[in-house]
Amino acid sequence: MERIAGIINLDHEQDMLNELTYFRCGAAVPFGGRYRMIDFTVSNMTNSRIESIAVFARRKYRSLMDHLEQGKAWDLDRKRGGLFILPPDWNDPTDISKGDLQHYHNNIDFLRRTSADYILVSGSQHICNIDFQEVLKDHKEADADVTVIYKKVDEMMPEYQLAQKLNIGEGNRVEAIHNEHYNPNVYMEMFLIKKKVLQDLVEKAIAHGHSHFFRDAIKDQLPTIHVNAYEYKGAHALVNSLESYYRNSTNLLKSEEHDRLFKDDAPILTKVKNEAPSKYMHGSDVKNTLVANGCVVEGHVEDSILFRGVKVGKGAVIKNSVIMQRCEIADHAVLENVILDKDCTISEGRTLIGAPEKPFVVAKRKTM
């Protein structure tokens, strides 16, 4: 089996989740009851036997570090390979690289040291469950320079407007990459490339004063390099705005979607918290809801997601809401279309109601 190393490049990811990304980068935002966004990327990589992973982080990476530790949850705290979070801390006055090429340049040792022949570069905003070994197989069959991964979407949701789309020609060759609407081939911000090719392209892009590896070295060079398109067909969600975060969260309440994302043979792992099982008291009434461990529920919860350690008091009502870790909802409070970031406290009898298309968001550690 040929080896792949992974790069999770967070450099271009805008922190557009408002209150949820005030204190953390998007990759560290809690998702799906017990995960953080980045868990999906890391788990996909380890499930595909990628055991060397570099994370290019630039801003608000503290909670990312806390969460990933050294890849412990993925058994990546190793001597050989492992997970490396690489925030910018470069002090070379002769360094002329710019943009995300700074990461590639300053972490060139990661590429040099890995024994992998291929590199899989991914962001953290496309939630999915994908086997990158299949991508590699396709890449080799196509004999391409680069293989980009895309999802053919059924319906044009607003979040896809920000995504790049692919024009795909004969033999799955990518002919153009652009932001045009109504093209259903959404580029998933993941590509596979031979290590040697990546190193050459990075060097060239820096020499030409470029600042954005994918745009400048791949997209703009399309006629000259062979870019192969790989279609991913599994569960998929793009989270790049508060609205898409909210809608895709509650989408998980659809049982089929949930089962396609969480698979026994390709589990999504996350940092272990050792919470007790959740407790449903007399008088609790919970419907169509995902609940993580450590919750104590006495009230009414419907069409919602409760993260770990949430307390819902007697007579409290929660609808269409996402309640993050350790929030406490006191008796008789009412929440509808609300997102509470972690450690929030909602006082007794308090009512908060947002709109279905624009949930009411409360930043972490707030008491209301």
Binding site: S255, P277, T289, L290, V291, N293
Partner: protein, 386 residues
């Protein structure tokens, strides 16, 4: 390397035959409890939370299940480079080998293991009880008193005292007599099977005991009486809190039900005293629109479409529409079909309960029904007790 102040030895050899088919393929300490745990998680978590980072786990039967469960000890933070958790089955030695013949014999045959850490004190634990206890407080007491051995005791109701090993003590805590299951108890202080010995004293008495052909090589029956006879300093350390033997199907069921009280005596949500456990990495639990759940403890990976009442569900349990689970304990990965009725039962790991079957006797006080591991209950069938 520095020596270890206190090393723990956990006696996990009990076969637990009174747990019937639950322990057919499983040592008793590996039995599931509380929706998420195995019994052994409690003493191991107690060790970690008490700052004891070196634990020998003495197994008797095929050690592979426990070996595999304990792994390198990482769930309990016992994956230490020096110390950590070690499984110690009876192994072959140049002079032969054989089963551990008693609790004292088990420790005696691992003196070399202890010697490697050159501890000052040795904590002896058993893997049969559900409780949370700070052993470091007991160790402090043991050191303050400069005791040769300290035995943890708990007050039991007088009417039950004759079922336990009873300590008769002076007012200052000195133990003067050990009464194994006395017909007429003189005290209600029962031994919890938790001992701290000075390492030197333990070594001496285990070695002497091994040379006695008439000894049963048991801590309660032989070692403690020998220390008492020699007028060694034995102290009773009184523990207050929840402590429960889960040695029978009924007591295991009861201890589970204890967790469903409004304010349980054992707090699993105490963030300063976590009960660590191997994590199955399942997604969040899902309660469907058709579900009805009350008075229940439910773990990740469950999917509930039916009714769950006064019950405990481990990870990966599916309860289909129309099914009713009441007063029951459902172990991991059990699939419960449509319109199944389960009352007062323990369903073992991986069982499949097909549609419309009826399990257990709802009569209060009736015997608890046990469905064996990976059992399969046919559709439309009826099962009650065994």
């Amino acid at each position: 390397m520095k020596n270890k102040e206190c090393v723990a030895m956990l006696l996990a050899g009990g076969q637990g035959t009174r747990l019937k088919s639950l322990t057919k393929e499983l040592a008793k300490p590996a039995v599931f409890f509380g929706g998420k745990y195995r019994i052994i998680d409690f003493p191991l978590s107690n060790c970690t939370n008490s700052g004891i980072d070196t634990v020998g786990v003495l197994t008797q039967y095929e050690p592979l299940v426990l070996n595999h469960y304990l792994g390198i000890g990482s769930p309990w933070d016992l994956d230490r480079k020096y110390g950590g958790v070690s499984v110690l089955p009876p192994y072959m030695q140049a002079e032969g080998g054989g089963w551990y013949t008693g609790t004292a014999n088990a420790i005696y045959r691992n003196l070399k293991f202890l010697h490697q850490y050159d501890p000052e004190h040795v904590l002896i634990l058993s893997g049969d009880h559900i409780y949370t206890m700070d052993y470091s407080l007991m160790l402090d007491y043991h050191k303050e008193q400069n005791a040769d051995a300290t035995i943890s005791v708990i007050e039991v109701p007088w009417e039950e005292a004759s079922r336990f090993g009873i300590m008769n003590t002076e007012e200052n805590g000195d133990i003067v007599e050990f009464d194994e299951k006395p017909a007429y108890p003189m005290s209600n202080l029962a031994s919890m099977g938790v001992y701290i010995f000075k390492w030197e004293v333990l070594k001496e008495y285990l070695t002497a005991d091994d040379a006695k052909p008439e000894s049963s090589h048991d801590f309660g029956k032989d070692i403690i009486p020998a220390l008492l006879q020699d007028e060694k300093k034995l102290k009773a350390y009184t523990f207050e809190g929840y402590w429960k033997d889960v040695g029978t199907v009924d007591s295991l069921w009861e201890a589970n039900m204890d967790l469903l009280k409004e304010t349980p005596d054992l707090d699993l949500n105490n963030s300063s005293w976590r009960i660590y456990s191997k994590n199955p990495n399942q997604p969040a639990q899902y309660l469907a629109s058709t579900s009805s759940v009350r008075n229940a403890l439910i773990n990740e990976g469950c999917k509930i479409y039916g009714t769950v009442d006064t019950s405990i569900l481990f990870y990966g349990v599916h309860v289909e529409e129309g099914a009713v689970v009441k007063d029951s304990v459902i172990m991991p990965n059990v699939k419960i079909g449509e319109n199944v009725q389960i009352h007062r039962a323990i369903i073992s790991e991986g069982s499949v309960i097909e549609d419309n079957s009826v399990i257990g006797d709802p009569t209060p006080g009736s015997e608890i029904t046990l469905v064996a591991e990976e059992g399969s209950i046919m559709a439309n069938s009826y099962a009650m007790t065994q």
